[in-house]
Amino acid sequence: MGRAAVTRRPVVVLGVIGHDIHVVANRILAIGLAEHGFHAVNLGTNTEVDDFLDAARETGAAAVLVSSINGEGEQACAGFGARLAEAGLAEVVRYAGGNLVIGHRPSAEVERIFTGYGFHRVFHRPSDLTGMFTALRHDLGHVAA
């Protein structure tokens, strides 16, 4: 489960993908990750797939959280899982979250699309983050609080 040693705080890379500048959730996520015992590596806004790959490789990240809020996600996140695998990072846990598509589309459809992109979990317009933190702990087998 992830290349990071369990004792050391697992590294989680997060960022907002595309020409997206919505930073509020990103800042809150970064604080929450720290409070849940993770080491957050925050790429901030206006990121690209390669930024996530580089950061994941350099920091030995256990997980990558990709945020998209302005609707560009459906394009920007295509093939994300495959790109990670190519870079030898297939083991890294991948979440997508935010307002993942343009306009109003059924959540089930959005989840299908992003799961198809290779994300392990998809959080389309969740009103809270508690579920995600719990899932992350579970997926990284990390129990330290």
């Binding site: 500048i21 930073v23 307002n99 306009g103 809270d128 983050l129």
Partner: protein, 468 residues
């Protein structure tokens, strides 16, 4: 001293022409195209003219931009029919970041797949001639809505398309709308845009400029909102702009909204006279709540109505309208038109109520005026060579600090918070020069902090989603 000054005007015609050629290179847009097109438009297509003839109620203007010409035409007609006084052209985020190839690619793919793959109208991809056709029969002004550090080509195209109101500014379209675009370069590009707007309108019908007041729409203390607006007003006046709207976003506090409206108008007019820009016609625009919206339409309608009423009580010149789809995603044509009808109706529910005030409003206005004057004094007394340089250095020093701005140059040392009465307070000013006295007033008005009953991330999320 670095006071706002006419001499800062980019008056060298050759230099401006050279830069324009560089900007327009390859776009197929002739330098004189915009001027000629605007000269042929009827008065009612000019925002500056509309503002001079405002009826006894605020104007209202929705947002909206679809990738395809066909759908943008549908939206334009529906919004006009619903009673929008200004028609929006909201530009997509790729174009806002000058990634014109991505915008063109996704426009084409979207048209092929009959799907919207852009969150706005790709103005550069469509070009000025196709866009002009959207407005051939239009009897009211069109406003460019975007969020673009380098808007030079975008504005050249917009003016040539017959758009007569340009939103934005070097601070308000850089700090909240980009993470690393060099701020000094953006400020320079917006001097270009201001100069272009000053020169392109026909005599007596100037192109109108509007700054973006809401900034990050997240716990922005009124003093920051007001000072950013005044900076962009003065920077535009330096370049010869003569019709300008300062604006602000609904704060979540009725009293602070009334206080901001009063201080923003008064200080704006005073500064224009003080620095010899008395010819500038100053307007005030109010954005309905720009923060996280509630999911349920019934609740969203309540927030929209209260925003409309507050805009009316604050005596603003224009209200920018939100839709019940805000929390969900880009609004449908139908829900955008319904929002226009609803706000137009709500604005009539308290006609002639501009005299509304209270002790709390007077106190907020008094504190705000004091904070604004201190920050302006700091700006004007700055040793920088020009006013623009002073503005730039005040951002770097943290004297101007916008909470939740993604931009790397934003100091983010200012800690805001929200009092029980919903007023936005300054918990820690960081490097923003606020007097000890005013810092004490801010903390007293904040009142006792709620006990940290939850982890910080949850308290922050709760604060930010206060009205969601």
């Amino acid at each position: 001293m670095s006071l706002p000054d006419r001499d800062a005007r980019l008056t060298d015609p050759a230099a401006l022409a050279a830069e324009r050629d560089a900007v327009l290179g390859g776009s197929g847009l002739e330098p004189a195209a915009a001027r000629d097109h605007l000269a042929g438009l009827p008065e009612r297509r000019f925002a500056s003219y509309a503002y001079r003839n405002r009826p006894g109620r605020p104007y209202l203007q929705p947002r909206g931009g679809f990738p395809s010409l066909a759908k943008q035409r549908l939206l334009t007609e529906a919004l006009a029919e619903a009673g929008a006084d200004f028609i929006p052209l909201t530009v997509d985020s790729h174009t806002r970041h000058n990634d014109y190839p991505a915008a063109a690619r996704l426009l084409a793919r979207g048209l092929a797949e009959d799907r919207d793959l852009l969150n706005g109208y790709p103005l550069i991809s469509h070009g000025h001639l196709a866009t002009r056709e959207l407005y051939r029969q239009l009897d009211r002004p069109v406003s460019l809505r975007h969020g673009t550090p380098d808007a030079r080509l975008l504005v050249e195209t917009a003016l040539a398309a017959g758009i007569t109101e340009i939103e934005g500014g070097g601070l308000s379209y850089t700090l909240p709308y980009s993470d690393r675009y060099p701020l000094d370069r953006a400020l320079g590009h917006w001097q270009y845009v201001d100069r272009l707007c000053a020169l392109t309108g026909p005599a007596g019908l100037p192109v109108h400029r509007e700054s973006f007041g809401p900034l990050t729409a997240t716990l922005v203390p009124p003093v920051i909102t007001v000072v950013v607006q005044l900076c962009e007003l003065l920077l535009a006046a330096e370049q010869g702009v003569t019709s300008f709207a300062v604006s602000f976003g609904q704060t979540g506090s009725l009293e602070q909204d009334l206080a901001i409206a009063r201080v923003l108008r008064a200080t704006g007019s005073a500064l224009l006279s003080r620095f010899g820009f008395a010819e500038v016609e100053l307007r005030l625009v109010y954005h309905q709540w720009m923060g996280a919206f509630p999911d349920e339409p019934a609740l969203a309608w309540q927030l929209i109505a209260v925003g409309a009423l507050i805009g009316r009580l604050a005596g603003v010149d224009k209200v920018v309208v939100k839709t019940p789809d805000e929390a969900t995603g880009l609004p449908s044509v139908a829900s955008n038109a319904a929002a226009v009808r609803a706000v137009r109706y709500a604005l009539e529910l308290a006609p002639h109520s501009e005299g509304i005030t209270s002790e709390v409003v007077e106190e907020e206005a008094d504190l705000l005026a004091s904070e604004v004057n201190q920050l302006l004094a700091h700006l004007f007394e700055h040793p920088a060579p020009t006013f623009l340089q002073s503005v730039y250095r005040c951002v770097l020093s943290g004297a101007i600090d916008v909470p939740f701005a993604p931009h790397r140059d934003n100091r983010a040392a200012l800690v805001p918070d929200r009092a029980a009465g919903r007023q936005i307070r300054i918990l820690d000013p960081g490097a923003v020069p606020i007097s000890e006295e005013d810092q004490r007033r801010e903390r007293k008005l904040l009142g006792s902090r709620l006990p940290a009953d939850q982890p910080l991330w949850q308290r922050l999320l709760r604060d930010v989603r206060l009205l969601a």
